[in-house]
């Protein structure tokens, strides 16, 4: 397992010199590796995980199954690329099962998501069906549970 990637996955805000200290290597080497990872797209971005409900910001999120017909040569990738260009699409997966793609779509409200499906997604070339499920509540996102774990605060201050 790549230790640097594992480290920044959980400590995104750590500086290169601190990461280097953790790994027991020179800062220059860490910087170089980080740069290469960014260039190669291995580090694809940095995200903050926000519990929007707690922040009292209304957003509307939907899970959408998309059925489509693959194109010659390009298969599903061409259609996927087309769908992925919409900023409303948060994630996009090719899946096994009853549909070809699974999408997560974000909008300000239900109408915005509905409009996206009706006017943009469904008419996309190659798409021949959609099934939209609106998200009612988020409980866990990117491995982070929105339930409060009580364990953490219960360690004593000093123990043998």
């Amino acid at each position: 397992m790549n230790e640097l990637l594992k480290l920044i996955e959980n400590n995104a805000r750590f500086e290169a010199k601190d990461l280097a200290a953790c790994l027991g290597e020179e800062e220059d080497k860490t910087l170089e590796t980080l740069e290469r990872y960014r260039k190669e797209g291995i580090i694809a971005g940095y995200h903050t995980i926000i519990n929007w409900e707690k922040a009292d910001v209304e957003i509307s999120k939907a899970i959408i199954f998309v059925s489509c017909v693959p194109e010659r040569v390009a298969g599903y990738d061409k259609i996927a690329e087309r769908i992925s260009r919409y900023p409303e699409v948060e994630s996009l997966y090719l899946i096994s099962g009853k549909a070809e793609f699974l999408l997560q779509v974000n909008g300000k409200n239900m109408r915005e998501v509905s409009n996206f499906v009706a006017h943009k997604l469904a008419p996309t070339e190659g798409v021949n069906g959609t099934e939209t499920m609106f998200v009612l509540k988020e409980y866990k996102k990117y491995g982070v549970s929105f339930f409060e774990e009580t364990g953490e605060g219960e360690r004593l201050l000093v123990t043998p």
Binding site: L7, G24, V158, T159
Partner: protein, 388 residues
């Protein structure tokens, strides 16, 4: 105190743990940042927690046999064979205890008689000396030295053995020093153990946190295995401190004796916790690996940072503690920690809590997130700058 004359005089004159005293001070303050805790910071992996919950749901809440659930005994033997290449019989050589702590108590009480001496390399975990004394034996301290990377040397061991010596306590990787005994190190002391015929009580609770190479168990050495008593447990390896599950591995005749003390004292370890331990032993290897990597990163980070801010710290080879000298500050361990707590709200443990040999040192635990360690380092840096 009013009962002074009536109570057991050994207990009366026993010093309360230096850690306890420090805890009491820290507990009165608000917003304390602490690097003083001797347990992992990870919440027990969910599949292990679930196994305990499942046991309770299914009503598996009766007493178990004194020596523990047979499946757990098997799981423990399987673990020692798999990880450390040591073979024990699940029916004869294992006893499940209430944490490693009960193991230490049971073993020392079963082995020691008045007049016996027990060799204790120090600085050492706080319980050993107290339990040796409660068992009626005398503590013979052997100082572990920083320049020897807190290892027990053959010379020091040999010099401490007398006709009265019953046993030596080994705790590697060790609390509070992080010292580790490698195969080469054991090669020096095993012949001495064999020749003298004393018991070796090896507390291997930090075995999974060995950073350079693999942990070596003393029980691997056939020539001393009959007189080796292994104490280990699930607390540190799987972050299961509150479950209180430990175990003893030893010759079957010794286990029978230990079991006598154990059965009259506590009957058996907590049943749901034993089920959780079974799950940990069979399906917890990935958790160990994940936590291990985290601890190694933190160790590297904290050692580099401590040296940067002027606290000379050697790289410990095991456990999750660093044990730097604070002699450069001109303060005693106690003074250093009290001032640090008072002025910076940072809690460390003074080295003399682990025996006189720890004077001049402090124990810093890195069982904390990197963010927390970073905050603590900033406080320590400020403190050192003010007092230089």
């Amino acid at each position: 105190m009013i009962f002074d004359e009536e109570i057991n005089q050994t207990i009366r004159f026993m010093k309360p743990s230096g850690i306890r005293k420090f805890f009491d001070i820290a507990a009165t303050k608000k917003g304390v940042v602490s690097l003083g805790v001797g347990e992992p910071d990870f919440i027990t992996p969910w599949h292990i927690r679930e196994a305990a919950i499942h046991a309770i749901e299914k009503g598996r809440t009766f007493y178990t046999g004194n020596k523990g659930l047979p499946v757990l005994q098997e799981a423990i033997c399987d673990y020692y064979r798999r990880k450390f290449n040591v073979t024990y019989d699940p029916r004869e050589n294992v006893m499940v205890t209430v944490g490693g702590s009960e193991g230490i108590d049971v073993v020392l009480r079963a082995l020691c008689q008045p007049g016996d001496e027990v060799i204790l390399p120090t600085p050492a975990y706080v319980a050993y000396a107290a339990i040796i004394e409660m068992a009626g034996a005398k503590v013979v301290e052997v100082e572990l030295k920083e320049e020897e990377r807190f290892k027990l040397t053959p010379e020091a061991l040999k010099a401490a053995i007398t006709e009265k010596t019953k046993a030596v306590i080994l705790n590697f990787p060790g609390n509070p020093t992080g010292g580790v005994m490698s195969r080469e190190d054991y090669a020096g002391i095993v012949p001495i153990l064999k020749e003298s015929g004393i018991f070796a009580i090896t507390d291997e609770i930090y075995a999974e946190l060995t950073y350079e190479g693999k942990h070596v168990s003393l029980a691997e050495y056939d020539e001393v295995k009959d007189r080796t008593v292994v104490i280990n447990g699930f607390s540190k390896a799987y972050s299961m401190t509150g479950y209180r599950i430990g175990y003893i591995l030893a010759h079957k005749d010794l286990i029978e004796m230990f079991n006598k003390v154990h059965q009259y004292t506590i009957m058996c370890a907590s049943t749901p916790s034993q089920y959780a331990a079974i799950e940990a032993a069979y399906n917890g290897d990935d958790d160990i690996e994940e936590m291990f990597m985290s601890f190694r990163h933190r160790r590297n980070y904290i050692v580099k940072e401590l040296n940067r801010i002027g606290l000379k710290t050697h790289m410990p080879e095991g456990a999750f503690y660093v044990f730097p000298s604070v002699k450069c500050s001109g303060m005693s361990s106690q003074e250093f920690c009290e001032k640090l707590l008072d002025e910076e709200n940072l809690a460390l443990v003074p080295g003399d809590a682990f025996g006189q040999a720890g004077e001049g040192y402090v124990r810093i635990s890195y069982a904390y997130s990197l963010e927390e360690i970073k905050t603590a380092i900033e406080k320590l840096e400020h403190f050192l700058a003010v007092h230089s």
